[in-house]
Symmetry: C2
Subunit: 616 residues, 2 copies
Amino acid sequence: MRRSIATVCLSGDLAEKLRAAAAAGFDGVELFEPDLVAGEMSPEEVKALADRLGVTLDLYQPFRDAEGVTEPEFADVLRRAEAKFRLMQRLGITTMLVCSNVATASVDDDEVSAGQLRRLGDLAQGYRVRLAYEALAWGRFVDDYRRSWRIVELADHPAVGICLDSFHILSRGHDPAAIEDVPGDKIFFVQLADAPLLSLDYLSWSRHHRVFPGEGGFDLPGFTAHLLRAGYTGPLSLEVFNDVFRQTDVHRTAVHALRSLIWVEDQARRALPAGAQTPDTGPGEALDASSLLPATAATGIDFVEIRCEDPSSVEMVLDRLGLTFRGVHRSKPVGLWTSGAARIIVNQQQAHGAEPHLSAVGITVPDLTAATVRAHRLKAPPVHRRTLSAEVALEAVLAPDGTEIFFGDATTAAWVAEFAGGSDLGGTEGPEDADAPTGGITGVDHVNLSGAWEDFDEAVLFYTSVLGLTAGSATHVPGPRGLVRSQVMTSEDGAVRVPLNVSPTLDTGPALQHVALACPDLRAVVRRARERGLVMLPVPQNYYDDLDARFDLDPELLAELRDLHVLYDRDAEGEYLNAYCPTVGQVFVELVQRSPGYAGYGAGNAPVRLAAQSRR
Amino acid sequence: MRRSIATVCLSGDLAEKLRAAAAAGFDGVELFEPDLVAGEMSPEEVKALADRLGVTLDLYQPFRDAEGVTEPEFADVLRRAEAKFRLMQRLGITTMLVCSNVATASVDDDEVSAGQLRRLGDLAQGYRVRLAYEALAWGRFVDDYRRSWRIVELADHPAVGICLDSFHILSRGHDPAAIEDVPGDKIFFVQLADAPLLSLDYLSWSRHHRVFPGEGGFDLPGFTAHLLRAGYTGPLSLEVFNDVFRQTDVHRTAVHALRSLIWVEDQARRALPAGAQTPDTGPGEALDASSLLPATAATGIDFVEIRCEDPSSVEMVLDRLGLTFRGVHRSKPVGLWTSGAARIIVNQQQAHGAEPHLSAVGITVPDLTAATVRAHRLKAPPVHRRTLSAEVALEAVLAPDGTEIFFGDATTAAWVAEFAGGSDLGGTEGPEDADAPTGGITGVDHVNLSGAWEDFDEAVLFYTSVLGLTAGSATHVPGPRGLVRSQVMTSEDGAVRVPLNVSPTLDTGPALQHVALACPDLRAVVRRARERGLVMLPVPQNYYDDLDARFDLDPELLAELRDLHVLYDRDAEGEYLNAYCPTVGQVFVELVQRSPGYAGYGAGNAPVRLAAQSRR
């Protein structure tokens, strides 16, 4: 299908918006009237620029308060409309969005609205313009797409069809299935927007909180599948009013936007029965199975990489925790530490002056080629690392938070052999490595990445679409310098857990990242580390007093937790013990011991951790 | 009344919070449990620090899920509570907040809740603790203060009273008048919070969007008046969960918080009949009329000051617009320009390297002493400027946006005589100065200040409490780099209009300010300025095409507006013409011609202006 984006989704002036949409790969744009009115370019210049860039101008929007009015008011509607039709001719735009009346409606009668739309259609036809009538969620009388379709049916005019906007339909909880009752050629335009599920008035929700498909709570693949079944062949267009995207880099936002459309279209096609995936007759790409994105799924964490100029502080922590140094890479200043299935790479390449930080995560997938083709088709920025011909070449892409995501499968597991002494490890084997110390670290429980608040929605979509992770519920953790929003992304079986932490808006320092290592006997690991001189992050006595009041713990256990600075949580499904190593640079190691049923991360302990780290 | 603040309102660790509350002048604090639990200080250290700082620990909060539970669950409630009572003894706190049950309630029966609170009260009494039972807006069964009071009445226990939180009452739209049915000595605690009027679920609204009194949409003076009439003599305490205050400077937030309490208490007392303002019997200050803040009201704009190192670009604009240079101040490198009642000071003091910016606004008030005493009692930071003994000493305070606000009245009008040639001006006379050119500039229509988004709520309260302005509705203006929030603050008669512009969060450049000068014949002023070489900010042709479509203007008028780059708006009450001078530094001059009935600012034109300025 053709892919389009409203100019209001992007920052900058109209020329910047057009250039960014074209560069990202959009087929067309919706021209949002204020972007034209506030701009210097004449309509003819806009048309010429769009032509040269190869993007079509798919829609002129919005035209307001057109129907449901008195006859004297309607005369002014016709006058206003005709001025805009002339303008559209200069722009070469043939479809205009007509919103249901909000401000001036005084006649609540389908026949009246239909009659006025029909007369507007007569006028429009003379300018070769089509009208796409849209029910706004806050329309005075018309706020349901089923009613706007009834009015369009009554109008019965070739130049009058409907526009469907997912926000206006799904925000009100209307069932989108009735879309299939509308002939595809009477759906003149489709606008897609997702949104978090808020209880907020429709107007504020719509104007400030729309996000791209895959970033909110609406079922947009399902919505889009209804469109496909209705036989709609026009553009899928994004109309996303969002306070953040208005401020962020226009080129990055445009790519991010296109990724969401590619993803939602793919998801929608997968929801159709195989027979329905027939080539369409529209101008877009063919609707056959080969155009589906290759499927992928993250199945495990292959490795975690920490980059820094001076690795000594990181390596001291790893050593004290009982990980084994497996040697240096044969062609790069990169070391490997392991314990069980936990593999941590310490990378000194291109790290001049860098404090230790989490620079890359290796993710295992069932099919390396499928995963990388999928990532590239989803416009994930590729990452290049120089590889000698005899070495395993790992494919990687850059996540919005700045982490490099490497893909690995059975064919790449030999990378560990490139480390001196690493050949006996055998790559991605089971969690219990033969030479892991009994009761030691067995693998990676989760990797906690951090990002700027303005990149949050993009990061959620990235991990959803590129890695096939699912967003769980978000929490807010109070820290001494503001709330930290935490959003967990997990694979279906829980083997890959990536909590994303979003810093408070005003926090200027780099946010901490961490890697959480799993150990079946956490207290043993902590005791051994302490004997070797590693002091865990101190936890205040008040915490243990409160723990006792909350959980009525066995006094011996409580004393041991207090002594070892181990934190504790419990829910109906099981227990969670964790402890934090001292922060080195921007990263720290957490130790985790979780009961099989416990699915959380000790959220109640996170404020205690933030406060303790802030004191260091 | 005693003034208190919950530690959750402030950023930092517990010691920082206590120090900031004490330094601002609070009498006490509510200890929010997580601040203790995450902190290193022992309960004894917290008590000792509070004692030394002279702030009382007024409340321990919150204790959750205490009543409406089964008997086995209640046994665990008693165990949990006793641990906290012991802790409170160590802290020296005698009142605990008990919230209505959210999570574990299964018995919806007032008698059961009352019986359980009574037994909790028996236990508490042994530790000399009182329980303040609060109905949360999202309580499972108890979400109305009238029901919590019924339960407390049924409990009929000296250690069990109620806590009233304005958010939980006003967010649900409950009438606060029934507060007066509660005996004052059974109101064990009061928490005040304001909030913008959102349609959002109560929990999110409460946890993220509370603001200090005077900054939201609740009638907190009315709420507080009910408390006074009920005979409540305990502390007025702020409990404001707010994402921004958690991040901002703790000392500044504490002062800002105290200002809101001083203001709301003053407003509440004014709402009482004079006889009710009798001295109270509590530990706070006497409730007599002399403790009321002196009343004030902004009656006009005395002057606007632009500060810069090099005044030539500013002065060129003022000269071309037809203002008259009145000479240099007798003791300072400061010049005065006037036309009619518009007085603009160009100040080169302490302006090394400074681009032109709006540094000060002079506000006329009926009584200079009253206004300055009021400002100081509201903790407005004083501003000092060196004044020679023979000169008029103007009192000033610093607004949160960084603007210095000077107060003037009839006694200070002689300041203009300190400028060479200024003695013939006579200060704050009528809008039509004798020597203003006919059709020229007659005064200041409004002054548009700009601030950082994180200071927005503080600025609204400042202008409300210190200058007696009123907040109108807020709008969002889309600019090419994000939404600009605009909040107009006006005096009752509209003589003082101060729109506050809040920049997009990510905007790093300094936001523009402007002074809007009133002229009865704007087109004449623009034409004359153009003859003198001043080119107004160019307005795109597309704007005039759209204007024509919207308003069906007389072609001659439209042509003239287009030629002169004058913008236009119209509503049912009148017309508004405006034009923008080129920006110099961070400030520009706007020209305004408004019909008497038109109360707006041409909001529809602001995006056009932002786009045009962004192109320059």
